[in-house]
Subunit: 281 residues, 2 copies
């Protein structure tokens, strides 16, 4: 079972705040320190009880840490992880919570001499809303966290970080960073791209006629455009491959419709339903 | 305010069953008769209290009706509406609840000499689940019902059917059948087609890594393939036009990604977010 004297969370938004709340509720850390750029975000996390102490100074924030979790937008993660590895005590472990992994893991391995103490993480949990005000202690309960050791990651780093996520109620899946990125391009990044395209391509004059189907299918398009652009930028080839697979599937359905081949159309829909139903609600 | 001595509901699934429950809860009808092909469906509706009497004989079911609502799969609606117009009392009004309107309204006008007593309806309310077991009395509360008079529909028919839907708590939008079909191709039929394609194009080995984003974006793909194939068959040109708009939008996003133009990518996502956020959750 994971426990630590001191956990530093850099970036106290939805994910960072929820980690703090979960650690607090389960009494797994002696002290939880929040590190952020904006005092307003830190104040929100303090008010929620997600962190016990707050600082805008990364060196002060990680000075006593056993574990550092970097939960910032993905474009900032490599730099912050490298600084945390350099500034934290020699035995401290560092992980992140970014939605891409290869760019981050490769970046840290290239830029830090301490990368044996870093392993990438991606909790498959979240919300299209952001900020510590939406954080909750059970965000990771029964959710999957992918942990992605790189070539330089020490086995002890990986196993300890896996224990950390398990202690928050999550299931852990260990994968290579590249494999993770291919998978989430299809399961997360493409759905976002498609939801946004569907919302953007709906003529404004007809938006009053949308119902729950449109609302569900476009919901993730409400996510933060800056965060998602960073994610797309770090996983472009895999996202394009997933988009090509989708467009090919749309083209098959289109051909069935043009040919008025209702048997084939129904087979397309029945196959999709089987896949969807297997997931549950 | 709408009220009737006798309402016949032909097809007592989710929509028909919910109409019955709403009429019953609001005490708007003296008798509610359910008409269905399968006794098992009728028994479920009786057990839920959605209908007071059940029959598999359409002539017996509509014999005393002031209002007949045809809530069957769309492929059957024209024939059943024409039979109901012929079999019900001379003053009875008939409407339907199908997701397409032009094929139905044109079909009834062509095949019935009583089409002045028919007006098309489409309640923008539903669920990917089917059957009276999921029916609920508040399904139409604060939802929009599109009412689509054809050239032969009497004004009194339209206004009475509009009052009927309003009495169930719905807002009514009056549109031409063609205009309705163009709109819902974009707001309902395309989301279904895209959700199905997204589910079908996700490689099976990665389905374990799906989270709420994939689940939301693909939810409607759990709908009944037979019902949706009928809807696609009745609205093919409008659906193809909506699909073309989507594919053009996907192509724009693709070009931004290939060019690594993150400013433009973020603008695409920001525009989609504005449209999505305007709807609320």
């Amino acid at each position: 079972m994971f426990s630590a004297q001191n956990v530093a969370i850099i970036g106290v938004g939805l994910i960072g705040g929820s980690i703090g709340l979960a650690l607090e509720e389960r009494r797994l850390a002696g002290e939880i320190v929040g590190v952020g750029r904006r005092q307003a975000s830190l104040d929100k996390a303090l008010a929620r009880g997600a962190i016990g102490r707050a600082t805008t100074d990364i060196a002060a924030g990680v000075a006593g840490a056993d574990l550092v979790i970097v939960a910032t937008p993905v474009a900032e993660i490599v730099e912050i992880v490298c600084r945390a590895l350099a500034l934290a005590p020699a035995g401290a472990l560092v992980t992140d919570a970014g939605s891409t992994k290869a760019a981050i893991c490769d970046g840290v391995a290239a830029q830090s001499s301490d990368s044996r103490r870093f392993v990438g993480s991606h909790p498959l949990a979240g919300d299209h809303r952001t900020g510590a005000e939406h954080a909750r202690a059970n965000l990771f309960a029964d959710k999957t966290v992918v942990v992605t050791p790189g070539a330089s990651t020490a086995e002890r780093t990986t196993s300890q970080v896996e224990e950390f996520w398990q202690s928050l109620g999550a299931h852990v899946a260990r994968m290579a960073p590249n494999e993770h990125d291919q998978a989430v391009a299809a399961t997360s990044h493409l759905p976002h791209l498609v939801a946004a395209a569907l919302a953007a391509s709906t003529p404004a004059k007809w938006l009053a006629l949308t119902a729950t189907g449109w609302a569900d299918t476009t919901r993730v398009a409400g996510g933060d455009p800056t965060l998602w652009t960073q994610i797309f930028a770090q996983n472009t080839p895999d996202l394009l491959a997933a988009l090509d697979r989708l467009v090919a599937t749309l083209e098959q359905t289109r051909e069935s419709l043009v040919a008025a081949d209702w048997t084939q159309t129904e087979e397309h829909l029945a196959r999709a339903k089987r896949i969807r139903d297997a997931l549950g609600n």
